[in-house]
C-alpha cells in the first residue's frame, strides 16, 4: 500500500480530532508543572495544520507537510507547537518532490518527524520529552516491518510502544522547559509532551484501521 498526499491530509485530520478530544487530558497533565496550555496549543495547532493541508490543492507530499507545519507554527508558537511544526516541516523537506511513499517507508516518515523535533529542541532520549514517546514507536514500527507484518499490525504495535514510552517518562528527570526548572520534583510526573507522542500514534493506528476498511 501507498501513503499519499491525500493520506497525509486524512492523518492530519485524525490528529486534529485526537488532540481536540484529549485537550482536557493534556491541560491537566501540563497543569501539574507547566502552564496548562498544552491542550489548547495542540488542538489549535493540529487543527490549523489539518485545515491548511485540507485547504491546499498541493499534490506534493513534502510541500503539503511543510505548509501544514508552518501553519501550526504560526498558530501556536509555544514550545510543543513549534516542535510539532518543526517535525512536520522536516517531513516536508525530506519528502519534497514526491506524491507518495510506500507503507514500508512510514518509519522514515516518523523518523523525519523525530529528527525535526530533535534538531529544533536539542533534547536527548531520556530527557523526559516528546522524544521519549516517539522513539520507541519508531523502533517498534521498524521491527514490525522487518518481520513482514501487515501495516495494521505495525500501527498497533507502534501505538502500544508509544504508550509504554509515555508511561516510562515517569521516573525520568526533566531537563527542558518549565518542568526542567523543578529538578528532582519532576521525576514523579508523566511528561505531557510524551503524551502527545502517544496520542499521535493512537491517531496513526486509527487512521490505518479506517484506511484498511
Amino acid at each position: 500500500m501507498m501513503f499519499t498526499t491525500a493520506d497525509l491530509k486524512n492523518l492530519l485530520q485524525v490528529w486534529a480530532e485526537m488532540m481536540g478530544k484529549n485537550a482536557d487530558f493534556l491541560i491537566d497533565l501540563d497543569g501539574i508543572v507547566g502552564d496548562s496550555d498544552l491542550g489548547l496549543t495542540m488542538s489549535d495547532g493540529f487543527r490549523s495544520a489539518a485545515d491548511n493541508a485540507a485547504g491546499s490543492d498541493e499534490a506534493d507530499l513534502g510541500k503539503t507537510a511543510y505548509g501544514a507545519g508552518k501553519a501550526m507554527s504560526n498558530a501556536v508558537p509555544s514550545t510543543m507547537g513549534t516542535l510539532m511544526a518543526s517535525g512536520l516541516m522536516a517531513i516536508g523537506k525530506k519528502f519534497k518532490g514526491i506524491e507518495s511513499i510506500e507503507d514500508s517507508e512510514l518509519p522514515e516518515f516518523f523518523q523525519a518527524y523525530f529528527d525535526g523535533v530533535q534538531s529544533r529542541g536539542k533534547a536527548e532520549l531520556g530527557d523526559k520529552t516528546f522524544l521519549d514517546g516517539l522513539a520507541p514507536a519508531i523502533e517498534a514500527m521498524r521491527s514490525s516491518i522487518a518481520a513482514g507484518e501487515p501495516i495494521t499490525e505495525t500501527a498497533v504495535k507502534a501505538a502500544a510502544a508509544a504508550h509504554e514510552g509515555f508511561l516510562a517518562t515517569k521516573g525520568m528527570l526533566a531537563k527542558h522547559g518549565r518542568a526542567g526548572g523543578r529538578g528532582e520534583q519532576s521525576r514523579d510526573i508523566l511528561d505531557p509532551g510524551a503524551a502527545v507522542a502517544d496520542l499521535l500514534l493512537q491517531g496513526f493506528k486509527s487512521f490505518i484501521e479506517t484506511k484498511g476498511k
Binding site: 502552564d35 496550555d37 504560526n74 508558537p77 513549534t82 529544533r120 526542567g180 526548572g181
Partner: protein, 338 residues
C-alpha cells in the same frame, strides 16, 4: 480581577494599537501584523538588532526599539513567545545588508522560535543572523562556566545587553563585533529579584501563585517561576543585603571594580521604594570599594502588576562604559549622552 482592560482576549492587540497610536513617528508595524514592531526610522548600513518575547513585561521588549538601541521586536501573547514567522518578518524589515542580531531571553519557547526564524532568514531570504541569549538570573541555575550551557533565565539584565549592543550597532560596527559586545555584556551581568505579590494573566483571570500578606519570595522569576526561598516579610535593607550577597558571589568582584546598577520595579512597586532599595545597594558597593559608574532606577522588565523588584549589576570596563554612555531615543526609554 481589577484590571483596566476590555475583553481579555483583546488585551495584547489593544495595547499594541495604543502604542502605535501614541507613537506614530517612532514605531511602525510590518506585514499588517501589530505583533511585528520596528523602528520607524531606518539607519542604512547598520546591523539590525531584533528582540522578541511574550507581552506583559513593558517596557520590555518592544519599548527598547528606537534610535541607539533595537531595530525591531516581535511580540507574543502574554508570557508567550511570538511565532518564528513574525520574527522572520521583523528580520526582513530591519536587515540593512549588514545582517541581523537576535538578542532575547533564555526561555524554551523563545529559543525554538528564534532558531526557526534564523533558519527561515537564511533559507528564504539569505540574511545572516546571529543570536545571543541572555540568562542573567542568578537565582535560576548554576553559575556560568566555559563550555557549559547557561540554564539561567533572562530577566532585567538584558536591558544592558540591548543598551551596549545597540550603541555598538549605532556606531556601524560589524555583526561579529556587535555580537561580541552582546556576549561580553551577558558574561558580565547578574540579576536577582524578589516578588511580593503575583500578577494576573488577563485570559487566565486569577493570580499565577499566592503569597500571604506577610510573605515574599526571593529569586522568583518574572513569570512567577519558583525562586530560592519563600519567607516572612523583611525590611528593604535585609532584602537587598540577601540579594546582593548572591549577586556579588556569583561573578567575583574586586575592590575598585566598576559597575552599572539597574534597580527594576516589577510593575506594582512605587518608585519611592525602588530608591530606598538603591540606597542600600549603593551602601553595600561603597563598603566593598566597588564604584558605581551609572545607576538606572525604574521599570525596565515588569510582570504587569506584580509587586517586587530586581537588582542587576553589570561589571564594566572602558569599552562598556563608552557604550552605556551613548544616547538613546525610544518611546519608552530615552537617555542623553553622559
Amino acid at each position: 480581577m481589577k484590571k483596566i482592560i476590555n475583553d481579555p482576549k483583546n488585551f495584547v492587540p489593544e495595547m499594541l494599537e495604543g502604542i502605535y497610536a501614541a507613537h506614530p513617528n517612532e514605531v511602525a508595524y510590518v506585514n499588517g501584523d501589530l505583533h511585528c514592531l520596528v523602528n520607524a526610522r531606518k539607519h542604512p548600513g547598520k546591523v539590525g538588532i531584533a528582540t522578541g518575547g511574550g507581552s506583559g513585561h513593558l517596557p520590555l521588549f518592544l519599548g527598547f526599539v528606537g534610535d541607539g538601541m533595537l531595530d525591531g521586536c516581535s511580540i507574543g501573547d502574554v508570557f508567550q513567545s511570538p511565532s518564528a514567522e513574525q520574527m522572520f518578518e521583523v528580520t526582513k524589515e530591519i536587515d540593512q545588508g549588514a545582517g541581523v542580531l537576535y538578542i532575547y531571553g533564555n526561555y524554551g519557547g523563545d529559543i525554538l522560535n528564534f532558531d526557526m526564524a534564523a533558519e527561515m532568514a537564511d533559507f528564504e531570504a539569505d540574511i545572516r543572523v546571529e543570536s545571543v541569549v541572555a540568562g542573567d538570573d542568578v537565582a535560576s541555575g548554576e553559575p556560568l562556566a566555559e563550555g557549559k550551557k547557561n540554564t539561567r533565565r533572562g530577566v532585567a539584565g538584558i536591558f544592558f545587553v540591548y543598551k551596549c549592543a545597540g550603541a555598538a550597532a549605532a556606531k556601524l560596527k560589524s555583526l561579529d563585533e556587535v555580537k561580541a559586545v552582546a556576549e561580553k555584556v551577558c558574561a558580565n551581568v547578574r540579576t536577582m529579584g524578589v516578588a511580593l505579590s503575583p500578577c494576573i494573566v488577563p485570559r487566565v483571570g486569577r493570580p499565577s501563585f499566592e503569597l500571604a500578606e506577610d510573605e515574599l519570595e526571593i529569586g522568583m522569576g518574572i513569570h512567577g517561576e519558583p525562586g530560592i526561598r519563600r519567607g516572612k516579610m523583611i525590611s528593604a535593607d535585609e532584602m537587598v543585603s540577601e540579594m546582593m550577597d548572591s549577586i556579588l558571589k556569583d561573578l567575583p568582584y574586586a575592590k575598585d571594580d566598576e559597575v552599572a546598577v539597574l534597580v527594576n520595579g516589577l510593575g506594582g512597586t512605587p518608585l519611592e521604594e525602588q530608591y530606598v532599595v538603591y540606597r542600600q545597594i549603593h551602601k553595600i558597593l561603597d563598603s566593598k570599594g566597588i564604584k558605581v559608574y551609572h545607576a538606572y532606577v525604574g521599570e525596565f522588565a515588569t510582570s504587569m502588576e506584580m509587586a517586587g523588584f530586581s537588582i542587576s549589576l553589570l561589571k564594566v570596563d572602558d569599552e562598556l562604559k563608552e557604550l552605556l554612555a551613548a544616547p538613546v531615543d525610544t518611546p519608552f526609554f530615552k537617555q542623553a549622552q553622559f
